[in-house]
Every structure is written in C-alpha cells, then in structure tokens.
C-alpha cells in the first residue's frame, strides 16, 4: 500500500524553493523528489506510481516547455503543474495546450498548489490504470498463434468470417474456430470489444 503513495517531483533551479515545496508537500503526506536541473530529472529512474511534476518554466539548462516535450517523447506520462516567476501568458497558453494541469504564478498559496497537485494525481492514476489495461491486453495478444493474430486483424478490419475464409482459401468452419479462440484468449465478449482492444493497442489490419 505504501508503494502506491503518490510521488511529487519538483524541478526548480532555486534551492530554497525546492526545499520549501518539498517540506510543504511532505507535511501533506506526499513523497517528494527535487531536482535543480531538467537533465537530472530526465536521468532519474521513474517509478510506476501515481505522480505529478511541479516544473519551473525557466530552468538554467533547458526551458520547462522543452522538458515537457522531452517527457512526452519518452512516454513518461507525468501530469505537469507549471510554476513561474514571470507573468508570462503566451508561455502558459503553450504549456496548457500541451496538456499541463495548471499554471501557478509565484508565489502561490498551498491551497492552489494542493488543488493542482490533487488534480494531477487523479489524472496520473487514471493514466496508470489505462496503461495497465493496455498492458494486460497486449499480454493477451501475445498468446495468439500467428494464424489467430491474422484472423484477429482481419476481423478488426471489418471482414466477415466468410470473406476471411475466401481470402485465406480455408473453410468457413476453420475461420470460425480461430475466431472463437481469439475471443476466448483476449477475453472479449463481443466483436465491438475486440475492436476497442485493437484501437487501444494501436493494432491495425496491416
């Protein structure tokens, strides 16, 4: 259970800001990791826990918005709360468009901070749940035989069993057997569900 305790990452080049935010968040029961540079944050081995990143827009090595892109590119999926000492509106718009939870001008009260962090943790939990579900389906797909996988792809494409049989040059009965085994292995009750699984895992007919 303790393992599920949310972790908050703080990236700010000011030692005192890092320390103060860390104290405040710890006093509210969060686990906190602080970083002075974006690079250090990227080098950190991230844990699979609900998490949130409190990120200063202006960093000495790279701009916070660039770090936001880098995080997305690494598929880290950590909701971001931006903090800034500049009243920079165009930047905040960019950050929000790229999926940030909130944008807090410094200095901010604990009420605002905790509000944003709570929202971020909720989003992170939902994302993790979704990730877990996708992983589960992917694991199930791996148990399919090459033939079954092919049938799965064609069914998802919208082909009827009869059409698949014609295309493969096999009997309708064989295809039906493959198909029911696919449904069984993937634990799908309907074809619609099957299609949803395929979409989630990015599986197409090719």
């Amino acid at each position: 259970m303790n393992n599920r305790r949310p972790i908050i990452y703080v990236v700010d080049d000011d030692v005192s800001v890092c320390r103060a935010l860390s104290l405040l968040l710890k006093s509210h029961g969060f686990k906190v990791e602080t970083f002075m540079r974006a690079e250090d944050f990227l080098a950190f081995k991230h844990l699979k826990k609900p998490s949130c990143l409190i990120l200063d827009i202006q960093l000495p090595d790279i701009n916070g918005l660039v770090l936001q892109d880098a995080i997305a590119a690494r598929q880290l999926m950590i909701p971001i709360v931006f903090i800034t000492g500049h009243g920079d509106i165009p930047m905040s718009v960019k950050g929000m468009k790229a999926g940030a939870i909130d944008f807090l001008p410094k200095p901010f009260t604990k009420k605002k901070l905790l509000g944003a962090v709570t929202q971020a943790i909720l989003k992170s939990k939902a994302q993790n749940k979704e990730q877990g579900a996708i992983l589960k389906i992917k694991r199930r797909i791996k148990t399919l035989s090459p033939r079954e996988l092919e049938v799965f792809r064609l069914v998802v494409k919208g082909m009827l069993s009869k059409q698949i049989a014609q295309k493969r040059g096999t009997s309708l009965q064989t295809i039906k057997v493959h198909r029911s085994r696919v449904m069984q292995k993937l634990q799908a009750k309907t074809v619609t569900e099957l299609i949803r699984f395929a979409q989630k895992c990015g599986i197409t007919s090719s």
Binding site: D14, S16, V17, R19, A20, L21, L23, L24, K26, S27, H28, Q58, I83, G85, H86, G87, P90, P105, K106, P107, F108, T109, K110, L113
Partner: protein, 314 residues
C-alpha cells in the same frame, strides 16, 4: 535800298524755309521713329523685367515653402527619434522590473511554503506560533501583490503586426542614428538584397532591435584603432526567412561571455543595465525569428537575426 532788300528776302526766306522744313520734317520723322523704337524697347524690357520679377517671386515663395517643409521634416524626424528612444527606455525599464519581480518571487515562494509547512507541522499544538506564521504568510502575500501591480502597470503594449519592408525599416533607423554615427566618427554601410519580400512585424519593436545592435557596435568600435565601420546586410536565408546581419570590426566578444550575452542583467559595459540584447532576443523570438552572434574570422563580431516572410508574400 530798303525795298530791294525787302523784295529779295521773301524768296530767299521761302527757299530757306522750304529746305528747312524738309530737313526738319526728316528730323521729326526720325525723332518720332527713335521715340517709338525706344518706347518698344522700354516696353519689351519692362515685360522682361515683369517676367523675371514674377519668376523671382515664385522662387522666393518656393524657398520659403521648402524651408517650412524642412522644418516639418526635422520635427517629424526628432519626434520619431524621441519615440524610439522612449520606447527603448520604457522597454528596458519594463524588462528590468519584470526580472526584478522574478528574482523576488523566488524567495517569496519559499517563505510562503516554509511558513505553511511549519503551520501544518504544528497541527494546532502551538497556537501563538501558528498566529505568527499566519502573519508571515499575510505579509508574504502583500509583497506578492505589490509585484503583481507593478507587473500590470508595465504590461507590454500590444504589438502591431503589419507587413513591412525590412530594408526601408533599416534605412529609417540608420537615418535616426546618423548624428550619433557622425559624433562617434563611425560609418554605417548597408548592403541590401533589393528583391526581398515583406516581413510581418511591429515597426517600432524591430527598429528597437536594429538600433540596439547598431549602438552595441558603436560601443564595440569605441577603442578600435582601424577603420570604424558598421555593415548592415540583408539577404534571403530560404524561401520563408530573411536574415539581417550587423557586422562590426570592433573588439569582438570574448569566448567566456558568449553564452551569457543574451541573459538579463549581463553587461560588459560599465554603465549598462544588461537589458538590450535580452529584450532584442525576446522581440525577435516573438516575431518567430532567432537572434544570435558569431565572431568574425578576422576581427569584430556579427549579430544576425532571422525573421519570417509575410505569408502572403512568400
């Protein structure tokens, strides 16, 4: 005797009279002709004089008018110069305040969080101390409000983005700074690609950038021994981008300063604020371009910025 004389006289007299009359007539005629000739001449000369006079009057009026025009132009010129310098000064002040606000907001953030963390940790055990902490929190927020008001006061005016001829804009800026160039004994040369499309930008802001780069070059050339010359070049970088270069043969930029050059508060001048290049870079970036610098292979430095072509003209 008397009679004889009397009879002779009329004949002679008549003769004389006739001859005389003829002669006089001729004289009169020639006099009359002379008089008419003179009259003609006078009339002609008077006419000529009148024409001349008219021409002179027109010329004088023209001169008066052009003097007035020069005065108006001078006034406009000075106003433009003042406006640009004012905008530059205000811009520097705004940037200064904004940077100051940032510097102060860091410790304010820390103080606020420390105090709130302490409050939480006390958890009602020390009401007196908690009260003191709440005073600290209140005053922290009071300071934050002062900063916010300052920021609102100096909020940058909206930029007016219009299609602009970058060469014309540079020429205008060069004209505005000619006096300074003369005082500093520095020549400004331009090398323009005359076939450039329009760019899209805010006239005053871009003039500010060009002015800043030129005046930096002035400073770089201050103690230069060689020829004091600044070269401004425009060219097309690619289909969508124009590049403007400001090159001088001054002292160049020491390598250890290169990375800090565009950061706020960094200055190598004894009386500098360290705002000029930082503002210029943010202006260029807000136009979708890039401002950078390189040292020349021989001597001095070249500052260059890119700016996207106005979409309709691309």
């Amino acid at each position: 005797m008397k009679k004889k004389k009397k009879t002779k006289k009329p004949v002679l007299r008549n003769k004389i009279r006739n001859g005389e009359r003829m002669r006089l007539k001729g004289v009169v005629a020639s006099l009359r002709k002379n008089r008419n000739d003179l009259k003609d001449k006078i009339r002609k000369q008077t006419d000529e004089l009148n024409v001349r006079n008219g021409q002179l009057r027109i010329g004088a009026e023209k001169q008066i008018r052009s003097e007035a025009q020069i005065k108006i132009r001078m006034k406009e010129f000075n106003e433009q110069r003042e406006e640009l310098l004012h905008v530059t000064r205000v811009g520097k002040l705004a940037e200064f305040v904004s940077s100051l606000a940032h510097e102060i907001s860091q410790p304010l953030t820390a103080i606020l969080s420390y105090a709130q963390a302490a409050q939480r940790m006390l958890a009602g055990r020390e009401p007196e101390i908690e009260k003191i902490l709440s005073y600290i929190i209140n005053d922290d927020q009071r300071a934050a409000e002062v900063i916010q008001r300052l920021r609102a006061l100096l909020k940058k005016s909206k930029s007016e983005m219009k299609p602009l001829d970058i060469n014309a804009l540079i020429n205008e800026t060069v004209v505005l700074i000619t006096t300074d160039a003369t005082v500093r004994n520095t020549g400004i040369k331009t090398e323009f690609d005359t076939d450039l499309p329009f760019v899209r930008g805010d006239r005053i802001q871009l003039q500010q950038v060009v002015l800043n780069l030129i005046s930096n070059s002035f400073d770089a050339l201050e103690n230069s021994q060689g020829a004091r010359e600044i070269l401004i070049r425009t060219s097309r970088k690619d289909t969508n981008t124009i590049i403007v270069e400001v090159k001088d043969s001054g002292c160049g930029i020491p390598t250890h300063n290169m990375s800090k050059l565009f950061t706020r508060f960094f200055t190598s001048k004894p009386d500098g604020l360290g705002m000029g290049l930082s503002i210029s870079r943010s202006i260029v970036e807000s136009h979708g371009g890039r401002l950078d610098v390189k040292n020349n292979p021989d001597r001095g430095a070249t500052f260059y910025f890119t700016i996207p072509v106005n979409k309709k003209d691309a």
